[in-house]
Amino acid sequence: MKALRNFLDNQKPHFKEGGKFEKLHSMFDAVETLLFVPDTVTRKGSHIRDAIDMKRTMIVVFIALLPALFFGMWNIGNLHYLSAGESSTLWNNIWYGFLKMLPILIVSYGVGLGLEIIFAQIRHHEVNEGFFVSGLLIPMIVPPEIPLWQLAIAVAFAVIFGKEVFGGTGMNIVNPALLARAFLFFAYPGDISGDKVWIADKADAFSGATPLGNALVGKFENLPSVYDMFMGFIPGSNGETSTLFILIGAVILLATGIGNWRIMFTVFAGGYIMGLLFNLWGENAYMDLPAHYHMIMGGFAFGAVFMATDPVTATQTKKGMYIYGFLIGMIAILIRVFNPAYPEGMMLAILLMNVFAPLIDHYVIEGNIKKRLKRLKTVTS
């Protein structure tokens, strides 16, 4: 540890301005601060500071994602062997899934972090930890059979046009991970929709349709049981099938206070109420689908827990959070039931509300401003 510190201190001058590796300064800085919390002390204002920093915040989200990630790996293996009609053990399944996901994770982190470091170097910033989470989110919301070159392009697009053009993490309008998925969805629809992509090396005879895929074409009799959908034994994107394991992540996020309960709760509430409203209307079979089915199908739970709660792209005022979450839930179900082209509405609902979040905040803050003006008028009159 001490030797490592000394090594870093010895190498540091080479990475400073004028040093032989000055172009790698941001990379060095990222590695150094990863290994050691810097020795910076307070200079202005409060002399003591909270132990939490961006790295701590992001590692909590990262940990919250792990249960769903490991289940996803198991599920990839399980479905693969199931489709092939072979029996397998727990570890076989996980190992198969791990091998499937490893290249996806490597491409996601490699491309994303590479771009982050380049931008940090150009801007003379420290490398932001935001992609630490985004880099894991993206592999979890794509199918196991996603072509890696497509993934690389999508990640690059999301990082550059979703984040860096606005000034980096904290300044972006829409969620970069969802933007990557939206990019894949519209640029290469064949590889991210349909019945063939959700099970790795699927045997042709086996139906690989997701619950949402079945619902879209009206095959409600093919829907898996509520238990299977809740547990996640269904085809779908890598990490988003198991509502149970996503909820374990939600508990971690809420217990640590990193995730926002207002948004999480209202997304589920909005979706459920929309489901109930459709039940009342009952025009077709999809509308008659019990409201709780919507919560456990597709990416609804994953979006509610990990995507809608992204603090940068969500609303930032308390009142705004209720409105934002509720509308995401409602719009997601609305798109599912009414749009014949897209089986899933969660991604589009969140991206849409990301764009409207600043507007919602604007009106909430306007209310605060008006209250202040009113007080002034009552004083002066």
Partner: protein, 449 residues
């Protein structure tokens, strides 16, 4: 007779090294008045090094408000006039002759004295700067009649001095000071006490004021918090405020005709061996408090509390308005994988460290920033330690982009940089919020004058 207000949002940071309630004579030889303590003041010197001064002799005045004079807290000789970069005046150091000869400003009958005489007397004696105004926290403008005056009889900041102890036995002077303040405002004088911990008769028996009880975590004792509940500051309105020791000084000026610069200062913090109170005068040199009484490591000496105080040297001087000197360890070390540790001994408002399960634990906290500066990512956290109907992050952003109108609309007049101290502590992005808010307030002051 008194109304109770419960402050829900906030945070008490529990630190080791609270001052024991005994008062010792400091016997300081040197004292200093530090112009940077007075926000927006452009000092013009009236004395030179070597001049002999009495207690109450003017040392300098404010270039833009010539009537406001700053006087010597003790009698003796002007030792040194310390200037910094661009010849900025930093300290005027006086060496005490121990005689305590004071300029006689004459006794006054408090019941019959009029407002103009009061102000005149306070200005010439140098007592005036003890009253500050909101917005901006500058020395009060004698030409303005404030809509209310606030006196906070308690302090919820970490390790803060116990004002009950500090004013002990000074009931007559304190009441005289309150009577004077009552003549300066068109509205009320609010004396705000701690609902639980204020027990001193000096405060509880005060007359000619409205007594209000406050309870809850820090910043429950901040003037802005009191004003927000009792009499919110609108655009164009001004309130004044002063601390209990300052009120005693005001009272003494009229009762005895002399500048009273006596102060009781708490010396506290995890690095102090015997934390206790010292009796001395304003601006005392802390060397006698610290010598042989602090631990050996690299320490930070702070005049004031750890949230809002100013860093001083180990032989520096107590600030004009401060009643506390805190000593904590410096945090200039690298911590191996510090951000991933379970954190049993780490203080955090967030619930991401194991220490959250020990809410009553007292900490030895150092000055490490615990991370790097980032853009604002987390939301909804600052509001939990910010007990105002104001959006803190939005206001901060309005200040950063220097949008004067928006700052005003979002309520910048109602707050001060000290109100953002807790936000700054818990900020995941490690920005200097108090500095940003001060910049915003300075900008407003320039625009409005």
């Amino acid at each position: 007779m008194s109304t109770a207000y419960k402050i829900k949002k906030g945070l008490d940071i529990k630190l080791l090294g609270e001052a024991e309630k005994t008062i010792v004579d400091l016997n300081a030889k040197r004292f200093a008045i530090k112009p940077p303590d007075f926000i927006g003041c452009f000092p013009k010197m009236l004395v030179e090094e070597g001049d002999l001064v009495k207690t109450g002799t003017p040392l300098f005045y404010d270039k833009y408000r010539k009537e406001i004079k700053f006087t010597s807290p003790v009698s003796g000789k002007v030792m040194e006039i310390v200037r910094g970069a661009k010849r900025r005046l930093l300290q005027v150091i006086i060496e005490s002759d121990g005689k305590d000869e004071a300029v006689d400003f004459g006794k006054t009958d408090i019941s019959s004295v009029d407002r103009d005489t009061i102000i005149e007397k306070m200005l010439t004696s140098g007592v005036w700067p003890m009253i500050r105004q909101r917005p901006y926290s500058i020395v009060a403008d004698p030409k303005v009649a404030p809509k209310a005056i606030f006196v906070s009889a308690f302090n919820t900041a970490p390790l803060a001095a116990d004002f009950d102890l500090v004013v002990h036995g000074k009931g007559t002077e304190f009441q005289a000071g309150l009577d004077i303040l009552a003549k300066l405002t068109t509205g009320k004088v609010y004396l705000n006490i701690d609902a639980k911990n204020t027990t001193s008769k000096v405060f509880l028996n005060s007359k000619n004021v409205q007594i209000n009880q406050f309870s809850g975590p820090h910043p429950a004792s901040n003037v802005s918090v009191h004003a927000s509940r009792l009499d919110p500051i609108n655009k164009g309105e001004v309130i004044w405020y002063a601390g209990p020791q300052e009120v005693v000084s005001i009272g003494k000026l009229f009762l005895e005709g002399k500048l009273d610069s006596e102060r009781v200062i708490a010396f506290a913090g995890s690095e102090v061996l015997h934390p206790k109170y010292f009796k001395t005068n304003m601006g005392a040199r802390i060397v006698n408090m610290a010598s042989g009484n602090v631990t050996g490591g690299t320490n930070r000496f702070i005049s004031g509390n750890v949230l809002t105080g100013d860093q001083i040297e180990k032989d520096g001087f107590v600030g004009f308005y401060d009643s506390l000197v805190t000593v904590i360890p410096e945090g200039d070390y690298h911590e191996f994988f510090g951000w991933i540790k379970p954190g049993l001994n780490k203080f955090s408002f967030s619930k991401t460290f194991l220490s959250q399960f020990f809410p009553n634990k007292k900490y030895r906290l150092d000055t490490n920033l615990h991370g790097g500066k980032r853009a604002y990512v987390m939301t909804g956290k600052l509001e939990k330690v910010f007990p105002f109907d104001i959006y803190p992050l939005q206001l901060i952003k309005a200040i950063i982009v220097e949008d004067i109108d928006l700052m005003e609309q979002l309520g910048i007049y109602e707050i001060d940089d000290e109100d953002f101290a807790l936000c700054e502590v818990i900020d995941t992005s490690k920005t200097n919020m108090q500095q940003i808010v001060r910049k915003g307030l300075d900008l407003m002051r320039q625009e409005m004058s």
